[in-house]
């Protein structure tokens, strides 16, 4: 059954400065991930799989590749007469979208004209497979005003303004620390929340009128004492992409079968725009181990611990290990790549050697020729 009482809002362009190489010409949501996806596929699919039928995607600038990816929303079953996908760029100028609060304020008509009772808000920099219906069930059970999705783990070191939550025995939020100095494991907010639509409108209006524009401080931290704010612990695989190293590691985690099982659930698939590539061709003499490979590749060389997106060519005598190679990149013959992130449409000619290190993968930008 589709169509529940929840609508979705996705911030597609936050924290882009943390992986500025990958977001130079695209939004955070359009960053390629995992051999065939873009980061926005995860929140979009999670919402769709949770029965959400109306999703607004907020995007500030650099959104050509995002819009190209989303199209009409057909790939996520969001091309609908009733509701579906709404791409919401700034109306007049990008300053409207300078932070979460002003962004939400500038889409006020979208919020006020909707009829859904609840809103799920998510960013694009967490890769996970979460069922928002369960978040909603908890929310109703707790008679909550806001439910914050959190992860219990070490705080990702570069996480932007992390909000660390404390709870009472019933899961009600009793403290919110922002940018606190914390060692060890804690409960940090994943920038995903469920809130009553009318309450969101009310809080945003209030903050705008007072010119208090920090969403975390002026809504979550300011209001948790006045409202019923609860936490929902997400226990699955959920890396936050806060650096190129994180990006690389999160991709490499997909080599683990338990991680793939957690992220790519058969009954809750991750949808994406698919191109009609032929299946991947493994040549005579190719050697591939421990790798995740998209369709349309042509592999004649050696591939080890790699993520290859669709349409990648690996030439004869070439060895690539511990690399993330994005779509349509061609690596010639007798080359050697190790710990390299190669963006789309790159040409790496014959007999080239490129090498990074686990903690510092080399990045080759889109359409380069090496």
């Amino acid at each position: 059954m589709r169509g529940n009482n929840i609508m979705g809002i996705i911030f597609s362009n936050l924290h882009e400065d943390l992986i500025s190489e990958l977001t130079d010409r695209r939004t955070m949501g359009a960053v390629p991930f995992g051999g065939r996806y873009r980061l926005i596929d995860f929140p979009l699919s999670n919402m769709v799989n949770s029965g959400i039928n109306k999703i607004g995607v907020l995007t500030k600038s650099n959104y050509q590749s995002l819009i190209d990816h989303l199209g009409t929303g057909k790939s996520w079953d969001l091309s609908k007469k009733r509701d579906g996908l709404f791409i919401l760029p700034p109306f007049a100028n990008t300053s409207e979208y300078s932070n979460r609060m002003t962004t939400l304020n500038s889409i006020m008509p979208f919020l006020t004209n909707s009829t859904e009772e609840y809103v799920v808000i998510s960013d694009c920099d967490v890769v996970c497979n979460i069922d928002y219906q369960k978040v909603c069930d908890e929310h109703l059970k707790n008679d909550a005003d806001i439910t914050l999705v959190y992860k219990r783990d070490q705080l990702p070191p570069k996480l932007h303004d992390p909000a660390v939550l404390s709870f009472d025995s019933r899961g009600k939020v009793i403290d919110v620390l922002i940018n606190a100095n914390i060692n060890g494991s804690c409960s940090y907010y994943m920038n995903m929340m469920l809130i009553k639509r009318e309450l969101l409108i009310e809080l945003v209006n209030k903050c705008i009128s007072k010119n208090t524009l920090n969403f975390k401080r002026d809504i979550i931290q300011a209001e948790y004492k006045n409202l019923n704010v609860y936490g929902y612990e997400f226990k699955g695989f959920a890396p936050v992409i806060t650096s190129m190293g994180d990006y690389f590691n999160a991709n490499m985690q997909l080599m683990k079968s338990e991680v793939r099982g957690d992220l790519f659930k058969g009954d809750r698939p991750i949808y994406t725009k698919v191109r009609d590539d032929m299946p991947t061709k493994f040549g005579l003499g190719s050697k591939v181990t421990n790798s995740l490979i998209g369709n349309g590749c042509n592999i004649e060389g050696e591939v080890e611990n790699c993520i290859l997106f669709k349409g990648v060519h690996i030439g004869k005598g070439t060895k690539v290990s511990n690399c993330v190679i994005m779509q349509d990149t061609k690596v010639g013959a007798d080359s050697n790549l190790s710990y390299v992130i190669v963006d789309k449409d790159v040409t790496i000619k014959d007999e080239r050697t490129l090498s990074g290190f686990l903690s510092y993968p080399v990045y080759i930008s889109k359409e380069s020729v090496v």
Partner: protein, 405 residues
């Protein structure tokens, strides 16, 4: 409502059972049989239509249409979902004076004259759903116009030894056909009909209506319509096609045609951007090739999980090959699982079947003592072949087999 005129309407004959494919077509029509690691046979004619600029395609079905209908859906994967045109599935239906199944290829078109008429076309292309090829029909239609033909038949040069398996077109030097021989014992030429016809619609329409009243007619293009037109002195031409073309109506030819994709010399490039073969794509993660895997000269699709040895094989989406399993010279269709230690050689395993641990399916020809008993082994869909079971070459399995200790 007035439909915008379509100069060309394509009619795709997809009603055949394809009985020579045995268990592979027990539950699905032949055009829905999987091919090439991610396609179904019908993707080829449908993609050819779109790439040739044909916007209206009628698909004639009557045998086991569920999977085929679901697969075609709105036609969106092939861009055949326009407002007033696109792909339409045409099943036999009840009429005022009774209901009839399609009694022959010509009768199937006859029963859908209304569908064709509403586009007011000049030409109708008749296609079949059991061939693998890439062809620009617009060139054939241009040839038809240029020769002011009433009927143009696509032909391909076949080896003389095989010519007696085909309908052979004997032509004058100008390409016009003077004789049509169905499976001749002593063929005069090697121009085999590919089962692709372009007709001028007014002519075809007339012959279809006339043929309905002919006593004893099988209402078949090859047996009735084409000979009648030739007798009447209509302008019939052979259009020579050059390129890859394969009838995949038998187990052997289906297997060969899949294996052709692994041969770099095969003139059928599925990665060619200018003539894409479109298909409905499953929503699955990329394939994973494990540490224990050894993959050589094979085609593998999204969603597979490979930990065994794969050699000269075509694996469709979501196939799982466990460690120690060996798949050689075989075709494994979507969702099937090859358990630890199983050996699959020269075999076709249909969809969602499990091959149990240490089972042995098929055999290499060089290992087979009696060459007459060698052939491709075929395992049907949704079956469970138990642990240690041995399936002989040439076998065709349609029921579960319990394991042996």
């Amino acid at each position: 409502m007035l439909y915008p005129k379509q100069e060309v309407v394509a009619m795709l004959l997809a009603g055949g059972q394809g009985s020579r494919l045995g268990v592979l077509t027990h539950k699905i029509a032949k055009p829905a049989v999987p091919y090439g690691g991610k396609y179904r046979i019908i993707d080829f004619p449908l993609s050819n239509c779109v790439n040739s600029g044909i916007e209206a395609v009628g698909v004639l079905t009557q045998y086991q249409p569920l999977v085929l209908n679901e697969y075609i859906g709105s036609g969106q994967p092939w861009d055949l979902d326009s407002m007033n045109s696109g792909v339409r599935v045409l099943s036999p239906y009840q009429q005022v004076n009774g209901a009839d199944w399609y009694s022959g290829t010509a009768n199937a078109i006859y029963q859908n004259i209304n569908y064709i008429d509403r586009y007011n076309p000049d030409y109708v292309v008749i296609l079949s759903g059991d061939h693998i090829y890439k062809m620009d029909y617009s060139k054939m239609i241009a040839f038809h116009k240029e020769h002011q033909a009433d009927c143009t038949i696509a032909v391909i040069d076949v080896p003389l030894a095989e010519a007696s398996r085909f309908g052979i077109m004997n032509t004058n030097p100008d390409g016009s056909i003077y004789e049509f021989e169905e499976k001749p014992a002593h063929p005069k030429s090697t121009n085999a009909s590919m089962g692709i016809y372009v007709f001028s619609w007014d002519k075809l329409r007339k012959y279809l209506i006339e043929d309905e009243d002919v006593e004893g007619s099988e209402h078949d293009f090859g047996k009735n319509i084409l000979p009648r037109m030739l007798e009447d002195g209509q302008r019939m031409f052979a259009y020579e096609f050059q390129g890859y073309w394969k009838d995949v109506g038998t187990i052997d030819s289906l297997w060969e045609s899949n294996m052709d994709l692994l041969d770099p010399n095969t003139p059928l490039d599925l990665s060619d951007e200018s003539w894409k073969i479109y298909s409905r794509n499953p929503v699955v993660p990329p394939q994973y090739i494990a540490d224990t895997a050894n993959v050589q000269n094979s085609l593998i699709a999204d969603g597979c999980n490979i930990a065994g040895t794969i050699d000269f094989s075509v694996l469709f989406s979501n196939v799982v090959v466990k460690p120690g399993a060996v798949v050689q010279d075989s075709i494994i269709m979507p969702g099937s699982v090859i358990e630890e230690g199983a050996v699959v050689q020269y075999a076709i395993v249909s969809e969602n079947t499990v091959i149990g641990k240490n089972a042995v399916i098929g055999m290499r020809p060089e290992d087979c003592e009696d060459k007459d008993k060698w052939g491709i082994a075929v395992i049907g869909d949704n079956l469970h072949i138990g642990q240690g079971v041995k399936v002989d070459p040439q076998a065709m399995i349609s029921t579960d087999i319990e394991g042996v200790e």
